[in-house]
């Protein structure tokens, strides 16, 4: 009924006792997420938010059997935190941290190729499976349970899409914020593959933005392998070339980076692309009716 995380996931928080970690961990616990502990080097043995704190991810995994980690570690130490989690056997690593140097992420990406772990992010809102687990910083109440998978590079635009989907009478299986950095762990295509293989997901909303070729790659994969309706939107049709628009990866360098070019490829691959971000929910609802 979902991908990546559910009510049985055992979640630890890296950077547990910091301001961000504390705030969002308590929100996650309040949502009903199964947070089993946290990691802050040097604070092992203490309790925080009524959960045990460990010095290392390895210790946390040994004691709690954790299989998911969410990272709120500052940018200078975040790449190390990701590798530590993968090394300790964590299967799903969600990195919220914004502003990790690209040079630090290059070896992380390489390391993860041979590790048995999936990284979501960095610089992302996280993952939520409504009524199961919120492993992220999104406002949980917007996401009602249902059959639509959402994959997006952006935070608030994900909330916008989820809200529209819910208001259109549908619900969400899982929403994945893959992040807006130049190097990210899970691509749009990989997220789409997860949803296409999830029996409980019946439709997919795919939200991208200018820069890179993740959406084009996903679109080509959908054309060849897709079996569920997909609604797509690309933010930044009006963004000027050569300027970074907030997200480090959101920059038009060449012709193929533009929203127009991406939308064309997506349409050519059979995705229902909306030009207005206000039409995401309604369009999904209409597609679901047609496919019902």
């Amino acid at each position: 009924m979902s991908v990546l995380v559910n009510k049985n996931s055992k979640i630890i928080v890296q950077g547990f006792t910091g301001t961000e970690g504390t705030f969002h961990a308590s929100q996650m616990i309040e949502y009903g997420t199964n947070v089993v502990g946290g990691v802050t080097p040097g604070k092992g043995g203490q309790n925080h938010l009524d959960k045990p704190v460990f010095n290392t991810v390895e210790d946390a995994v040994k004691v709690t059997g954790a299989d998911v980690s969410i990272i709120f570690v500052p940018p200078a130490f975040a790449a190390d935190a990701i590798i530590e989690a993968a090394d300790a056997g964590i299967k799903v690593i969600v990195c919220i941290t914004e502003g990790i140097p690209v040079k630090d992420m290059i070896p992380v990406k390489e390391y993860l190729k041979s590790a048995n772990a999936r990284l979501i992010g960095p610089n992302c809102p996280g993952i939520i499976t409504p009524d199961g687990a919120k492993v992220g910083i999104m406002p949980g109440f917007i996401f009602k349970s249902g059959k639509i998978g959402i994959v997006s590079k952006s935070g608030t635009l994900t909330y916008e899409a989820a809200d529209q989907v819910v208001k259109a009478g549908l619900g969400i299986s899982t929403a994945i914020g893959i992040g807006g950095d130049p190097i990210i762990g899970t691509t749009t295509q990989e997220a789409i593959e997860l949803f296409m293989n999830d029996p409980e997901t019946e439709g997919i909303v795919m939200i991208g933005e200018i820069g890179g070729n993740l959406e084009a790659n996903a679109a080509k994969w959908i054309k060849a392998n897709g079996n569920k309706p997909v609604v797509g939107f690309i933010a930044g049709e009006t963004a000027p070339a050569g300027r970074t628009m907030g997200h480090a990866g959101a920059i038009v360098g060449g012709e193929e980076d533009t929203a127009k070019a991406k939308k064309k490829i997506m349409r050519d691959c059979g995705i229902t692309v909306v030009d207005s971000p206000a039409d995401i929910g309604q369009t999904m609802a209409e597609l679901m009716k047609v496919n019902a």
Binding site: I106, E110, P139, L157, T238, P240, M245, H247, A250, A278
Partner: protein
Amino acid sequence: MNIHEYQGKSLLKKYGVAIQEGVVADNPEQAVEAAKEVNRLTGSEWFVVKAQIHAGGRGKGIVTETGSHGVVLAKGLDKVHDIAKGILGGHLVTKQTKAEGKLVNKVLIAQDVYYPGEVQPEEFYMSVLMNRETGRNIIMYSPEGGMDIEAVAEKTPELIFKEEIDPKIGLQGFQARRIAFNLGLSGEAFKQMVKFVFALYAAYEGTDAAMFEINPVLKTSDNKIIAVDSKVSIDESALFRHKDIAEMRDISEEDPVEVEAKKAGLNYVNLDGNVGCMVNGAGLAMATMDIIKLSGGEPANFLDVGGTADAERVEKAFRMILKDDKVEAILVNIFGGIVRCDRVAQGVVDAYKNIGDINVPIIVRLQGTNAEEAKKLIDDSGLKVHSAVLLKEAADKVKEVLA
């Protein structure tokens, strides 16, 4: 963060890359002294006077006030003063600048490297950057140097080569040799190029650069390989560990409003349109710009107020947008999650009252946590603010006020 040619060259030199030597100057008198210094260092009797601005196409570019080009060869020390005078303090317009051009505050007085000799000089292109497709660094190069690389990519894509670096082992000798061979080099020039490639890659890695572009890389008439130009961009996220490079930031090259925004913790990009916007989140901000266009307007800016949009930030953001007199309407689009919409609404009301004379219509769309309370707060405030809850309603209101 972009830096100037002379700054990029200083980084290159630090990592052992052979460069066209030069000395930077602020005024024509200094330019003459700089030329004397370059003569002492290199023996060069001709000099190249190069405008230092953050934009390409300087050689073909024209200084509005004087008609001078942005890069000029001085065939003798006695020519340097007047050439520098024709460039400094003027506005250089190139195909990469806006129509009003960029003010030139500094010129680089560089040695002439196209001196005659035993072989013909040759120009190549080389850049180092990260390939987003693979998440690895690549060295991109071409025997077609000295010209616009995008034009080369379009007309003769077979003349653009790429060498991908495996992060596990780094740049390998055979890769540097392959580059030198593909550029048609042999003998001393071949050896020099291998050395050049290694030093250039070390500079890129060592400075946490997002890009090093050298165009042209020159094979001189005596078989030296040197960087004649440098276009360098540094990863802003890594500046915390490069204090020396962070100090190279030239804020006179940046939009003053954007600099001010950054200080206030706002992410702002100035655009040319007539509808300002204020949004939380980069993706939603871009989407809001798109909505403005679809409603018949043009976005005047990109503005992400971030995850903690409190009253103070909202007011700062308003003041920033209102500085732009092309703005005919403002769309505020906040999706409240952890941020409560009623607090943002209060911020809008306070800002409106504090600023006093806002003469453009404002559309406020607040959705998410406490959205209904927020709408009520705005509606009851008696201000000339249009409120909306759904994105569609906001789009329609923009259409209405522009009509």
